[in-house]
Symmetry: C2
Subunit: 368 residues, 2 copies
Amino acid sequence: MLRFEVAKRDRETKARCGFIRLKGVICETPLFMPVGTAGSVKGITPHELKECGYRLILANTYHLYLRPGHQLIRERGGLHRFMGWNRGILTDSGGFQVYSLSPLRTVTEEGVRFQSHLDGSYHMLTPEKVVEIQEALGSDILMPLDECLPYPASEAQAVNSLELTISWLKRSVEAHQGGGALFGIVQGGFFEHLRREAVSEVTSFELPGYSIGGLSVGEPVDLLHQIGAFTADLLPQDRPRYLMGVGRPQDIVEAVSYGIDMFDCVVPTRNARNGTLYTWKGKLNIKAQRFAQDEDPVDPNCTCYTCRNFSKSYLRHLYNAGELLSPRLNTIHNLHFFSELMERIRRSISEGWFSRLKKEIHESYPLT
Amino acid sequence: MLRFEVAKRDRETKARCGFIRLKGVICETPLFMPVGTAGSVKGITPHELKECGYRLILANTYHLYLRPGHQLIRERGGLHRFMGWNRGILTDSGGFQVYSLSPLRTVTEEGVRFQSHLDGSYHMLTPEKVVEIQEALGSDILMPLDECLPYPASEAQAVNSLELTISWLKRSVEAHQGGGALFGIVQGGFFEHLRREAVSEVTSFELPGYSIGGLSVGEPVDLLHQIGAFTADLLPQDRPRYLMGVGRPQDIVEAVSYGIDMFDCVVPTRNARNGTLYTWKGKLNIKAQRFAQDEDPVDPNCTCYTCRNFSKSYLRHLYNAGELLSPRLNTIHNLHFFSELMERIRRSISEGWFSRLKKEIHESYPLT
């Protein structure tokens, strides 16, 4: 279902590059997954995603379960076919969305009962149900149901929550029929001894990959990376490590340096819709008056469709006029930037100049 | 600037097919222009417009004058370059938008004073100013400022309005420096003798093309075509005839039968955003429950990007989820349909089966 191979390790850091092989798809790591919440990366087509170089995207189990429903997608031949995407799909467990979107939720040993943010209807997600949904979607990589705690949370809360997450993982592994690769998620809040315990428990299932969850939930950035690095170090070398919900370019390059292989985040797509564009010299906001007359593309060296064809002046006009083309062109640029960022990270590891690249990125994108 | 050539005339009706030659662009007629109000056909790129087969689009002088401003576009090298479209652009006079969008307007002999619908600022459009704006935009085809009356309007109103429109046309012709082709607009309300007088006055300027204005403003459909056909008959054979703001497939094929060569309308693009899709069997609304499980494309014979790649089930899901991809994919389909409609109309005239096609179209799209 999934094979992982480390091709090269950096000498100065713990960064590594390699491959994740899925059924019919080879993904180079470290990789970034654009977020296609409801079976669509907002505003752009599967063909544009390919043109940007992506081979693996993330879709949200919670959203697809509620609308249009996993049974409907299963009957259509699975999510790949439904959305016209023949490369890889990773689905999350829905746990984070229940925690962040649902107006009401109750967590019990059995699972999570919650109210839909769409119509207020009541639903129950159990570990078994979450696996069933992702199997119906036909995901290449599945996440087990977990509990994601807010920051800060007490040690007692974190202990209880971890226990629950581990018991749910056991049930997930039992429920999993074998379609796609089921990862394990390491929780444990911001307590190193709990993260250590979590790794020990989760890796005992000998799963094809491991996610670090419960980070990027509002904690200071140094704490994110302290816990991230601590946890990554404990995970086996021969399995991909996925830092869930991270991140910004500065966070990605930092996390790569302690051995993370996979990332997902809404920042490139959400920021695009807000007019924030990424360049190698930092972010810019296309709304700014100073771009009104600017005939240059967002980045003269960028080879994306947007930069090849349109000026900052025109992009600013589209944004100000509320034109539908605005989020689309901005999203193409940002996803191209993130794809190129990952490509450079991989190349720098392979060729031995990762530390220099990391320093450069942190000059344009300070780690604060 | 503009050369028009009739290649073939239908034997049973007054339909004709031919070419409009602009600087560097040959447009086959009868043709339909998608509306790119603010320098963008909503949601789609110039490349997609080309892929749909379009060679001439319409942009709105009123909108571009207010935002980003015609001077800014002139400094960027004109609208073609600003928006990345190297084919033809026709701009309207702004008169209709002043009449339909501005909260306050005062018409005098000098011109129209109005308040911006964007920020309430006051502006004055004169015939000279409107030509200047369109020359700054670099339009291939320009429209002179005219007054567009509502329906119904009295004969006295129509007489006065026509007199004003003719005096404005005279000033427009004098102001026009020769960049692009300035058309004449025939007004005269719903009074045949005024339309006759208008044609006589307007054609005396020997312009490269003539528009029929003041129709499709709320009148019954039979009256639209009665006045349209009456006016078209009076216009010279060797100039293109443009029926402004029309229309639906049934109106287009009807108007082609009385000798119209050019059309523009927001229906394909606006309807797309509302989920209404055109097919050769009539319109359908993608929201409908009956499409929830429908794995077929909108039209199995359609070769558009949307139909080649996505099912009605997926399009319905995108619409219901409010995904940005929804208006985009729907717009591509509808613009492809309108392009194919015009292509079939041209071919049917050229090959002698236009009447049969007209009957077929009126079966799916009744003329009511």
